[in-house]
Symmetry: C2
Subunit: 183 residues, 2 copies
DNA sequence: GACAATACGGAGACAGTCTCCGTTTAGCAA
DNA sequence: TTGCTAAACGGAGACTGTCTCCGTATTGTC
């Protein structure tokens, strides 16, 4: 890749991250191009669709998921707390930008999603946490990872759309956790 | 209201219902106007915002919620089945048009929402069902109606966004129900 | 039948998406 | 260094959707 192309690419990604954080995932792409100091054509050449740009942005913080999962796995304490702690982190991560929860959760389990690889990292991390609980025989029968991720993603989506704060989200996650854990 | 105004109003509502059903809540309003055989100005005069139009459309089927709640209340059987049956109906109702679950669920508990009155009908029905279970001492402590509606709405939203069918939705609702019901 | 009051409708201003293509630049080879 | 070519740039403009403005038409009343 030519040096100028690479330079523009990173500029676009950085700017997009900033703009998406400020305005959510439906921000104007032309504005992102303008702020990044490139023409619209350049943006669209690098990222033919909005989702392609999204995918590039997610790269950075998908890495954080791994750490968070490790931390959850190392947690010594009751399963309910472990699960709730993980849910909190997960919701925080997918809610970094407005529109994120819906985008990500709807892509779970979709093999054709443009952000598939990123979602696989997420479900991978989720799976490890769930497996840890399964090993401890803490989960009900027939509970599977994608279902759990969808439930938590649903909570995050509702919170995102409705502007709920952490205090309003907590009880919802508690219900989901109680529904997943062995009674 | 003048006769021609009323005629146009109903034409617009009927057309909008049709178009929204076909294309979801983000369909073009100009197309609705065109299909209804009126000018864009006429549509916007009757319904200044997309939400105002939505509100008018919801009227018809909000009525169905009442019946459905009555039916649920009359149900003789285990609380878990009652709750799941109600969830199914509720999800079906708010999912009539694409985009509906997110729209409606994010409006729950928002006193400034343009579809507030419709949401109140929904939560009212939801509340009666929940109260019935509370009377039977079937619910966990501290479970409240809006929380339950948000959870079910979250499931419906995820299903709507991700194109999940009833078979994929069922287990999610089961988890929510188990989380709400006394262990 | 005339005259307000009310309602209509579509042209057009505006904003966002996305493409096309003439211009510029990086990188390499002589 | 210079010259060359493939690669990349960028912005004008076509297109779509939102929403307003205002000249025109219709309704219902006296």
């Amino acid at each position: 890749m030519r040096a100028d192309a690479l330079r523009n690419r990173t500029r676009i990604i950085d700017t997009a991250r900033e703009v998406f954080r400020e305005q959510g995932y439906d921000a104007s792409l032309d504005e992102i191009a303008k702020r990044a100091g490139v023409g619209a054509g350049t943006l669209y050449r690098h990222f033919p669709t909005r989702d392609a740009l999204l995918d590039a942005i997610m790269q950075t913080w998908v890495d954080r998921v791994e750490e968070a999962a490790e931390k959850a796995l190392a947690f010594e304490g009751p399963p309910r707390e472990l699960l709730l702690g993980w849910f909190d982190v997960y919701v925080g991560l997918i809610s970094l930008h407005r529109g994120g929860p819906a985008k990500i959760t709807s892509a779970l389990g979709d093999p054709d999603s443009p952000i598939r690889t990123k979602c696989e990292v997420l479900t991978g991390a989720f799976e490890r946490v769930m497996q840890r609980l399964r090993d401890a025989d803490a989960l009900r029968e027939g509970v599977d990872t994608v279902q759990a991720a969808r439930l938590v993603g649903g909570v995050a989506t509702v919170a995102d759309d409705g502007g709920l704060d952490a205090a309003a989200v907590r009880p919802l996650l508690v219900v989901v956790a109680d529904g997943l854990l062995r009674a």
